[in-house]
């Protein structure tokens, strides 16, 4: 359950389903919005991760 990618996908799934149910009533419009949100979040996350890849990781954050 601690896979970053899996957690991101689960998060995107929950949020996409939520906003689809909140904002759309017709089945077709729901499917379109769901795909836009879900693929946007997962794809956007992957793109940001890819853009950050060249940057070296910093020191681990201290635990307060």
């Amino acid at each position: 359950m601690l896979s970053h990618f899996l957690l991101m996908v689960v998060y995107a799934l929950l949020v996409s389903l939520y906003f689809t149910t909140l904002w759309r009533r017709e089945r077709r419009a729901q499917i379109v919005l769901f795909l836009q949100l879900f693929l946007g979040m997962v794809g956007g996350g992957l793109i940001v991760a890819w853009l950050m890849y060249p940057f070296p990781p910093g020191p681990p954050a201290p635990i307060p």
Binding site: M1, L2, Y11, Y18, T21, L22, R24, A29
Partner: protein, 147 residues
């Protein structure tokens, strides 16, 4: 054949995604819907006769809370001198009864050293904020601004 429609007649507005607005409810029912929507995720929608939608919302918020807790995310509480903790607490209190059950009933706090702490916190915060939006949605439905 003569066209009876006036050339200057404005085009019909596109159909709203929310459908036709319903009749506004009395103030007492509006307050009840908003209160129920905050207390139990989705209950405001069930009260407003949107049972299926309400149950979907309940399921989504509870799943988000469950994942957040299983990852040992932070259940925020106000901390002196850290104003962001007040904001985060407000956001998580948005989930209603589940927040108080976790905090006072189950004595849940989260575990900062846990590997999933940050993700869990994001899930818990999201659950609270999602329910706050549901409160506003219930308000819109009860006041006749939304179907």
């Amino acid at each position: 054949m003569a066209d009876t429609a006036s050339p200057e007649a404005p085009p019909a507005p596109p159909p709203s995604q929310d459908g036709p607005a319903a009749q506004p409810l009395p103030a007492s029912q509006l307050v009840m819907a908003v209160a129920l929507a905050w207390l139990v995720p989705g209950l405001g929608h069930v009260y407003l006769k949107r049972a299926v939608r309400g149950l979907i919302f309940l399921l989504l918020v509870i799943i988000a809370v469950g994942i957040g807790c299983s990852l040992q995310g932070n259940l925020y509480r106000p901390m002196q001198g850290q104003w962001l903790s007040y904001l985060a607490t407000l956001g998580e209190i948005g989930m209603g009864v589940p927040y108080f059950v976790l905090r006072y009933g189950l004595r849940y706090e989260g575990q900062q050293e846990a590997a999933g702490f940050e993700y869990g916190t994001a899930f818990l915060l999201t659950a609270g904020l999602m329910n706050l939006l549901l409160v506003l949605d219930a308000w819109d439905i009860a006041s006749g601004q939304k179907e």
